[in-house]
Amino acid sequence: MPRTGPRPLPLLAALSAGTLLLTACGSGGTGPAADSASATPVQGGSLTYATDVEPISFDIHVSQQDITGAIQRNVFDSLVHQDAKGEFQPWLATKWEIGPDLKSYTFTLRDGVKFTDGTPFDAEAVKLNFDRIVAKETKSQYAASLLGPYTGTQVVDPHTVKVTFSEPFAPFLQAASTAYLGFYSPKAIKENGAKLGAGGPADVGTGPFVFTAYTKGQSAQFSRNPDYNWAPADAAHQGPAYLDKLTIRFLTEDSVRLGALTSGQVQVAEPIPPASVKTVQGDPKIKLLSTDAPGANYALVLNTSKAPLDDPNVRKAVQRGIDLDTDVKSVYFGVYKRAWSPISPTTPDYDKSLENSWPHDKAAAEKALDAAGWTTRDDAGYRTKNGQRLTLEWPLPPAEFVREQRETLGQAIQADLKKIGIEVTRPRLDIGTYIKNVYGGQEHIADYSWARFDPDVLRLYFNSASQPAKGGQNATFYKDAQLDEWTNTGKTTFDKVVRKDLYTKTQQRAIDLALIVPLYVRTAVVGQSAQVHGLTADPNTWLNFHDAWLGQ
């Protein structure tokens, strides 16, 4: 049943940044909750944050990069805010009404919001931005997909807009809470529409920071928006940000980023590689903030359309034959947790009951292979059937797309599967061949993760309509009426109980059918100097600098 109007704010008024952090905090980190709650925030100061990736395009309506959203979140606000529990709260919209057919959303906009160039934020601005996202000329690589079956925005009055869709579209509120559906000043779009991807002062939003300068290959600079007074209700404070200046430095080399942090040249650095976490923990001047990433875990996606993985027994053997507890622990030094479900524990409707339900079991894996008829062995010790060796091809993507030592984890997996007689080959393909083969269903195994703070990501992975060739992520190529029905229904309802039930069943069935082998839960580890207070990560693991301040 669709709900109308915004949900009440139960606990939210009471939620401080500290408690928010506790819910978002993963293992292996020490949150800065205690000290920031007790001390009085200090106004002013300049903070430098070092990150490892530089955005290709800064245009939130075009870019599909996580880093673009993470950086521009400081400059752009959204209609609604999604809190740590996945509930939607007012932000630039004070309330909203959802049409009974889920085909329309009417938002009442907040009064007195201004873009940093002085232009008022109103219904026209919403319409202009949404229309820009779906316009062909924008060539949106992500935001347009968030608007789904968008048909248009109607300006009801200066403070009311109605967004309509051609079919029921429940994921819209979640999409509207992301930075990708944030709002540029209409003046900026008119004057600099084609240049917004280049970053810098042309990118005018309503957020707590103003994008003042960008030097490609080096840094992006932001200054405080002195008029900011419309943070979501669960922010630690209202009014402008504490920091006068925020500088983001692009330091791709892990050791350099870490050295810059430990030597005090930057105050915040991310990511801290798992191998370095222990070193940083021993440094009294550095605090760590860890947050489990939401969305689909990094996983082996098994192509069920290609023999021998069309046989569920072989897939089962792969799932149970990998000693993930040991592999993940040794490759990631205990910083990342092994995964049990296709989605991570911080994703709403995560099914905890899957934990420990499919532990490593070499005997069970061997039995499954016997049952599948792979009973003989060749000279190299690999299983064979009718003279054919049991070989799975799992191509390596080009080196620049491999992160988090996934190659090392891959080697451990290869070794585990060899023990039960499965040969795994890992040819290194160029990017063109990789996409063509993997997305064309010609390889046995694909591997990826997909960040999204919504269990709808399960539809992306397991719905048969979500074809890789069309921008979907279902590289299992499995067609299952149940999975299709559950994920389709989940997309069209706001009923929490129904959604929980559907997504729990989806997670369990995906594991039961061994469509996927979830590997580890990505944990964003942020290092910060002890003088930084109040810094929190949102459910996307993006840092919120609005509440951050510098002590001493």
């Binding site: 840094s219 330091l251 810059a260 921008g471």
Partner: protein
């Protein structure tokens, strides 16, 4: 020099030949770059967007049409040459800005870095070669070892070592960026060290060969001090081969800058090249290839001119 001077037409002819040669090099580089990008397997738009894109087929079609990628290859090639002929390098697929502007913005920091590294390398190499030429003993051995180490160490590793010592521990220089001169020191040293190693070895060998020549003996027999023989006569001889090498090494500085700029988080062509290649941003890559070709042509011209300055025998021809 009057108009009737017979050297003037010869000079003009020489210049014209040189210009034609330069154009041929540029056209060749442009064609090879275009061909190389055509040879990347897979759909160019899909490759450009990379794995893990949520772009719909409609968006891909839009991008394909806008950049003319739906045209036959020959048409694309001719369009491309036509645009280049008018000096239009096109617009970057990913950064949504004209390639010429992008390169223009990033050129200065790289030129600064390359020049600083080159100057440093030349000074260090001359000092090392002059100090050790014709000598035996531990100093010479230590010098050779240091050169070998400098030549064989990867520059990003040298960079990280220097950063660890002088930035993270001693805190003399800032970690990265292009704010002021102090931020240029470590990257320049990083880039200069391997260069110094190569140059010093070549210079020393040249010096030692020259010192063994009859003219060196003659000069010494006229009562010239050994140091003066070394600096006034032998160095000039040794310089010829070092200049050729320096020319070639300058061309390679761009490649070195890719790593150094990325390690030190500096802006520049190196960082831009890395981004362009990673994202298969064709217009950007082509623009950068043309820039390298241009630098190569300019340097080889410069090297030829320097020969004239160093070796008077070439001028009389």
């Amino acid at each position: 020099m009057s108009a009737s001077d017979p050297t003037v037409p010869a000079l003009l002819r020489g210049t014209a030949r040189r210009l034609a040669g330069a154009l041929a090099v540029l056209l060749g580089a442009a064609t090879v770059a275009f061909a190389a990008l055509q040879l990347i397997p897979g759909d160019p738009v899909t490759v450009m967007l990379g794995p893990g894109t949520a772009a719909t087929p409609e968006v891909k079609a839009q991008i394909r049409a806008q950049y003319g990628l739906d045209q036959p290859v020959l048409v694309q090639y001719l369009h491309y040459l036509g645009r280049l002929a008018t000096g239009d390098l096109g617009e970057s697929y990913q950064l949504q800005r004209p390639v010429a502007d992008l390169i223009g913005d990033q050129l200065l920091p790289t030129v600064q870095l390359a020049l600083a590294a080159l100057a440093l390398a030349l000074v260090l190499a001359v000092l090392a070669a002059v100090a050790t030429a014709g000598r035996r003993g531990p100093a010479r051995t230590a010098g050779s070892l240091a050169e070998l180490l400098a030549v064989s160490s990867p520059s990003y590793w040298i960079g990280i070592l220097l950063l660890t010592a002088f930035s993270f521990q001693l805190r003399i220089f800032p970690v990265a960026g292009d704010q002021d001169l102090s931020a240029l020191v470590l990257p320049a040293v990083t880039l200069a060290l391997p260069l110094t190693g190569v140059l010093a070895q070549v210079l020393r060998e040249g010096l030692e060969t020259a010192l063994g020549q009859p003219f060196a003996l003659t000069a010494r027999s006229r009562g010239l001090a050994p140091a003066a023989v070394l600096l006034r006569h032998a160095l000039r001889h040794a310089a010829a081969s070092a200049v050729t090498l320096t020319g070639w090494l300058t061309g390679s500085l761009l490649g070195g800058a890719v790593l150094v700029e990325s390690v030190f988080g500096r802006p520049g062509i190196g960082a831009l090249s890395l981004q362009g290649t990673t994202n298969k941003d064709m217009p950007l890559v082509v623009g950068l290839v043309l820039l390298s070709a241009l630098v190569f042509v300019a340097i080889s011209t410069l090297v030829d001119l320097l020969y004239l300055a160093i070796d008077p025998r070439l001028r009389s021809r």
